[in-house]
Subunit: 400 residues, 2 copies
């Protein structure tokens, strides 16, 4: 494989990721556990919601026509024939000239087509004086006003919010068919890496990428599994990748910051499966590897944490979005660029920026430093058609 | 208590919530489990990160001064005295006129102050030709460049992102001191309510608020506990509130859509503790109750799900933000209003809107309907000083 001579455009890499993304099956979970999960099938209303016409105020259910012309001076006089309680269902029909007390949310008796608010009505023994005319449908919601029976309420691929869970409850779904969480294996390679609970000797650094990837996978609704730090030795790496591929839906291998290490990782994937792409016109993130072993996508991430994270956002998001049918949803904010960003035509750049009000300031740091990951608000993408972006330009910030 | 005669402004309600918000204690969790948790104490760098000066490219560690004037025509000639491997720490010092091969991330030998990239260098036996001059510090990061020992990296109250977990790993924290999750009890009241797995008879509706609140609490990093549907009977409600107060940090009681039910809930809280506020100049959300029983905040939410959710966002966010020290973080997007919104001076309104590009369209629905919760993108707040907002105005949308 010829290194970086023909770099693959990001759009092509995203397309390849989509074609090698196995669809995850659905599973049934209890409604409260469905928060943040992705629907594996559309959800429809099985009946009219609400199932009956009801009042939206405390007042008197009436025939609207009986109140025509009513006002302070000449109120409508109606005979009260009942009091409806909350949750009560079997109510006698209403006749012309009659009314019934109904609380907010109470059933409208058959015949009634409006509710006169209690604020504009007065009970006098068996009669009620209505001092303001109501129109047909006033202060009433009809059966099916919220959701009509049969209507598709949620599409496949929707990530369920708290509000969605409420509506699903209202529709009568106590369980939900959601996409199984992708199980994502995380391997960190590099002879310089030590576990986070160790003090690094000179030349050593702690393993940042395992925790970066673990958090990323959880945030994306996946189920991360840590395979630990693997030294840059062919046998050890082969063994770790085999184990990860066996139990996971995706394998992320970070590290191999030198050319030799990256080549070894690609060679192992090629031997066990296929390397589709090695080298992408993306900065940072050029040495990214996209492969499959069996049907399992295996992604080689750069060793530098900040570069790794850009690849997660720019590419792995596409993979997870395709596997879960949710697509990629980015939280974008528009901002004005405060300084120039240089780039190269033919390469997509992702620059960390800090947002202050509506202004985005690029944070340039030497590669290998991690502080820009926490001092920045998100990324600005420089498209491959551009040679850079200029001070004062309006840009879209992909918020972290 | 005199109903709605003197409604409390939202700002005052938020202040009261902050004063009755008990601070949650900290607890120690393993680093990977800290995603989305809130720091209970600041975190500082305990040593310089990185702990040594290193190369950011594959190349040759040099004295920059030895390359002065070097170019294609007249390269600098240096003697190669070693090859540094990744993770190797004990390296002999470099003398003038010498160089050592160093991979990306490798330790810089004592004396070296720059790295000549491999792309501009050529090995010839024991010598290296450097064809481009490097400046002092070029292609090098120094010890402490990422984080200086002793510097405060994260503040108390920070909600930890995947990037934060990576950096915490780099700083050597394999456990993190985070605020304990608030345990939030959820009670739904109303004789009209049936569990979600039942088909409602006429007059009945399914319990939406339990799932709405459950999802909300989880999304805010809390630990929800469902106490189920309680009929509007004093004894049953007293018993449920007692149990919830005993085991929870916050109790949310939704429902009581009629005046009588709301009064009963307030009377019970008053009997068991204190009602601080009953009735807020907020639409929807006017009948909200803010109380405490012992030191536990007890919030009475409106029965209508959409109104309930507005109160969660407008007020309960303040309570949780204060209890967890995280404050309230809203995802705001600016947009242009497409139609007028009417309001009343002296009242804060929260209107559901749908975002299409940069335009926000208010979704008006009869109260009691839930579909606007899923067809909207968020809320626009109409401040109490305004009588409404006008078409074409720039507004801030609080995204869901």
């Amino acid at each position: 494989m010829n290194y970086f001579l023909d770099l693959v455009p990001v759009t092509e890499a995203a397309r390849v990721l989509q074609t090698c993304a196995p669809r995850l099956p659905g599973e049934t979970v209890p409604l409260p556990a469905a928060l943040g999960r992705i629907l594996a099938a559309p959800v429809s209303a099985r009946e009219d919601i609400p199932g009956f016409s009801r009042s939206v105020v405390d007042g008197y259910a009436v025939y609207a026509a009986d109140t025509t012309g009513a006002g302070e001076a000449i109120p409508a006089l109606l005979t009260i024939t009942g009091r409806i309680s909350m949750g009560e269902g079997s109510i006698p029909p209403l006749n012309r000239g009659e009314c019934m007390y109904v609380p907010t949310g109470g059933v409208l008796p058959h015949g009634a087509d409006a509710v006169a608010m209690i604020e504009y009505s007065e009970e006098m023994g068996r009669d009620v004086l209505v001092r303001r005319a109501v129109a047909q449908g006033e202060n009433v919601t009809l059966s099916g006003d919220d959701f009509r029976a049969g209507v598709e309420v949620f599409e496949t691929g929707r990530r369920l919010s708290p509000r969605d869970l409420g509506v699903l409850g209202g529709l009568g779904y106590d369980t939900v068919n959601v996409v199984r969480r992708p199980k994502v294996g995380i391997i960190s390679t590099g002879n310089e890496l030590v576990p986070v609970d160790q003090v690094p000797a000179p030349g050593e650094i702690r393993d940042v990428n395992t925790y970066l990837c673990h958090g990323y996978v959880m945030e994306r609704g996946g189920d991360p599994e840590i395979f630990g730090i693997v030294p840059d030795e062919r046998e050890a790496l082969e063994e770790a990748i085999s184990r990860a591929v066996e139990s996971c839906d995706i394998v992320l291998i970070s590290g191999g910051s030198s050319k030799g290490e990256r080549d070894m990782c690609a060679a192992i994937i090629e031997e066990m499966g296929t390397v589709h792409i090695h080298g992408i016109a993306l900065a940072p993130g050029k040495p990214t590897i996209i492969g499959t072993i069996g049907t399992t996508p295996v992604i080689g991430l750069p060793g530098h944490p900040a570069s790794s994270y850009v690849v997660l956002i720019a590419l792995v998001d596409e993979l997870i979005g395709a596997m879960t049918r949710s697509g990629v949803h980015r939280n974008i904010r528009k901002a004005t660029l405060r300084t120039n960003i240089a780039s190269a035509r033919g390469r997509e750049d992702y620059v960390r920026v800090r947002l202050t009000g509506d202004e985005a300031t690029p944070l340039f740091g030497k590669s290998g430093l991690t502080n820009t990951l926490i001092y920045s608000s998100g990324l600005v993408r420089v498209p491959e058609s551009r040679e850079g972006l200029e001070t004062g330009e309006e840009v879209e910030v992909i918020l972290w």
